[in-house]
């Protein structure tokens, strides 16, 4: 079978290329999201099929259709009077001369001429565009309907903040796990993962089955540390943890409270009250606030303090209610035995990625509080170190990627300005810290933050607002939209942005079977290969 599809009949840089399919090519074989190459006279173009349609040369055919029971008539008309067309969005070009071949694919700035031949992209074409698996490039899956390995340059990937989006149940967690393992194996960056659902550390669940899949720790004992907020829960799940995080009252600041405003149902004034109380009591404000009106302090004294600080009684009560919720979180203690931030930094400095498990604390308030608080302090450290390194002309700290779930809670327009994540997303990697955000409601994320994301990977989204927000600012948006809306509900994703030369719809590589572990092992170090082999043996026992 030839891979030739047809010829270019119309093209515009703005609107894309219309391709009329050759007679023998069935329109039903054309799938949105597939790659094609267009052979122009001087250069080759790479593009993606973004629409498929039927055409007729004479409108009367549609009004009085021919006798379709006659196979002869049908055979004659197919590909001549009635034909299929595909709409291709050109993305890249490669010039014909030696110099431009060396330069590699360039963004498309022109269009192919009339009647240029259009072919399905071959494996070599894909390889030329996305590169082969190598020490920087990590195999993340296969382009739709192709066997070729799609490789992502992780060095480039971690240079900016990135996002993984998709409705719940579309495979975000699965995809994230693959990427995190890839980063562990192939990039210089260390990871700090706030693992809300205990999916990444030791083992995770596989969607739709009871099968457990390996977490990060099982890929590199020495390269991953699991920190937990809930030691008992981790022990029940037989997760070997490295450290139990507890947070002291004095580590919580009014900024952390302001992030939690909507979650804790606080009023603006209540948040303001927190700042006032902090000003009055200093570091121990939380403890003082919680003890006000209880024990030693009398009602009069409380009133006195509130009056001085210019806080209304109702705001104070609102704040108190919120703080009580925090107080009840098991990991919040009056005095933390050890400084969690210091421990995390120690690990990160040694090049060890940290997975923070939340155990039973799955409420969003716990997640927001811990992720925001820890990240803020870690980021401050990185900022200081980077600035010092720049001043002294020494090496910058090792790149850090912070992975957060439910990102719209941290990065909504309302709080993006207040949370540390908003800052990290906006400042890009000035201080060698970037984000990997995972979210199901990208429309909830602040536009400015979204626009700063380097690479976006998105599984199926069906809310119009979410799709718009993910694709905002991407060229060929409307075409990508049709690709995105037609992804399979599971295990298909669209990747575009900084780390890939052109958008591509792909099927993430398999993860969870013995063979897949072996493949991952081969890409990683020798030790992991041995581990995978052991797993396979175990499987047969």
């Amino acid at each position: 079978m030839t891979d030739r599809l047809g010829i270019v009949t119309e093209a515009s840089l703005e609107r894309g290329v219309e391709v009329r399919l050759d007679g023998p090519v069935s329109v039903e074989d054309m799938v949105v999201g597939r790659y094609v190459t267009i052979k122009g006279q001087k250069r080759r173009f790479f593009g993606m099929i973004t629409d498929v349609s039927l055409g007729v040369t004479d409108q009367r055919l549609t009004i009085t259709p021919p006798d379709t029971t006659d196979p002869f008539i049908r055979e004659v008309l197919t590909g001549t009077s009635t034909f299929g067309t595909i709409h291709v969005t050109p993305m890249l070009t490669i010039g014909g001369d030696a110099e431009s071949v060396l330069e590699g694919p360039q963004p498309v700035k022109t269009i192919p001429g009339h009647f240029a031949a259009v072919n399905l992209a071959t494996e070599e074409d894909i390889e030329r565009v996305f590169g082969k698996e190598d020490p920087q490039r990590f195999h993340i899956g296969n382009p739709l309907d192709m066997e070729t390995k799609l490789c992502l340059n992780l060095e480039e990937f971690v240079k900016r903040s990135n996002g993984i989006f998709g409705k719940s149940g579309t495979g975000k967690t699965f995809l994230t796990r693959i990427l995190l393992i890839g980063m562990l194996q192939k990039s210089q960056a260390v990871n700090l993962i706030f693992d809300m659902h205990n999916e990444y550390g030791w083992e995770g669940s596989s969607e739709g089955s009871t099968r457990k899949v390996k977490g990060l720790k099982q890929w590199g004992q020495s390269k991953v540390a699991i920190f937990t907020l809930d030691k008992e829960n981790s022990a029940t799940r037989k997760v070997p943890t490295d450290f139990t995080v507890q947070i002291g009252y004095d580590e919580i600041t009014p900024e952390d409270i302001s992030v939690l405003r909507s979650t804790l149902n606080l009023t603006e004034l209540a948040v303001e009250a927190a700042y006032q109380l902090r000003r009055r009591f200093g570091k121990g404000w939380l403890r003082e606030t919680l003890s006000m009106g209880e024990g030693d302090t009398s009602k009069e004294e409380v009133d006195e303090i509130l009056k001085e600080a210019n806080i209304h009684e109702s705001s104070f009560q609102s704040l108190r209610r919120g703080l009580n919720i925090i107080e009840r979180l098991g990991f919040v203690v009056p005095q933390a035995p050890e400084d969690a931030v210091k421990h995390i930094l120690n690990q990160l400095d040694r090049g060890v990625s940290v997975v923070m498990e939340f155990g039973r604390y799955r409420e969003i308030s716990a997640y927001l509080l811990v992720a925001n608080m820890l990240s803020r302090r870690i980021y401050a450290q990185y900022q200081e170190r980077s600035e010092k390194a720049r001043a002294n002309d020494t090496a910058l700290p090792q790149p850090l990627v912070i992975t957060i779930e439910e990102a719209h809670k941290f990065l909504s327009t309302e709080v993006a300005g207040k949370t540390i994540f908003g800052t990290i997303a906006r400042e890009m990697r000035k201080y060698n810290v970037s984000l990997l955000v995972i979210d199901q409601r990208p429309s909830g994320i602040d536009e400015e933050v979204m626009s700063q994301m380097g690479t976006k990977i998105t599984c199926l989204l069906d809310n119009e607002k979410d799709i718009d927000s993910v694709l905002a600012g991407v060229s060929g948006k409307s075409e990508l939209k049709s690709v995105l809306a037609r992804l399979a509900p599971k295990q298909q994703a669209l990747i575009f942005g900084h780390a890939v030369p052109m958008p591509v719809a792909f099927q993430p590589r398999e993860y969870g079977s013995a063979q897949s572990y072996k493949d991952f092992g081969q890409a990683g170090s020798q030790t992991t290969t041995a581990q995978a082999e052991k797993d396979i043996e175990e499987l047969w026992e």
């Binding site: 040369t57 009367r60 055919l61 004659v76 001549t80 009077s81």
Partner: protein, 197 residues
């Protein structure tokens, strides 16, 4: 009543009227007409038979009915043998190409046929050779003829398909060519395709 042996390459007629786009030939035998749509050759020029007539030798004189007392139609001719000389069969052919050395051209020749030039019915090999290209269809679709072009085209293709190894594939290919030629005349295309099978 057929006088023609299709297998022979004997001459069947003689040109009596010639133009760049058409020629008329008179058959040597009464009713020795080639079928509608068949490929004929005179000199280097190829034509497609489109309009066959049998008339009285003298234009003004109409034949008389003679068969009242005869048992069969053949008996009419047997009892009046002069009839074969008083009637004549003629056909018109639309010029669709010519032989330029060894190459068959599917467009009009530089010179028309000559009067009294012999006309031959093309043999299967020649028809096959000519039918390699469908460019001649363009001439047929555009020609102004006393017979409907759709009838002529379908008859021509049916004739030609008979000598092909794969008649179906030939007709499909021809049909596709027509679909391109008549891309905005679906009605005509439909009537031709309907007559091909």
């Amino acid at each position: 009543m057929r006088y023609i042996n299709y297998q022979s390459s004997d001459k069947i007629a003689e040109v009596i009227e010639a133009g760049t786009t058409q020629f008329t030939a008179q058959c040597y035998d009464l009713y020795g007409l080639p079928p509608l749509g068949s490929l004929v050759r005179t000199g280097d020029i190829y034509g497609i038979v489109f309009n066959a007539t049998t008339t009285s030798l003298e234009p003004g004189r109409k034949p008389l009915a003679r068969g009242k007392d005869e048992a069969t139609e053949e008996a009419v001719y047997e009892s009046s043998p002069q009839l074969t000389k008083l009637l004549r069969s003629e056909f018109g052919a639309v010029v669709v190409g010519y032989k330029d050395g060894d190459i068959v051209r599917h467009y009009l020749p530089p010179q028309p046929a000559k009067i009294h030039a012999f006309v031959y019915l093309c043999q299967p090999d020649e028809v096959k050779e000519f039918g390699r290209s469908f460019d001649f269809l363009d001439i047929l679709t555009g020609a102004t003829l006393p017979v409907p072009a759709e009838e002529l085209i379908s008859a021509t293709l049916r004739q030609m398909s008979r000598v092909q190894e794969d008649p179906h594939a030939f007709l499909v290919a021809a049909g596709k060519e027509l679909a391109a030629l008549l891309s905005n005349q679906y009605d005509r295309l439909k009537s031709i395709l309907g007559r091909l099978t």
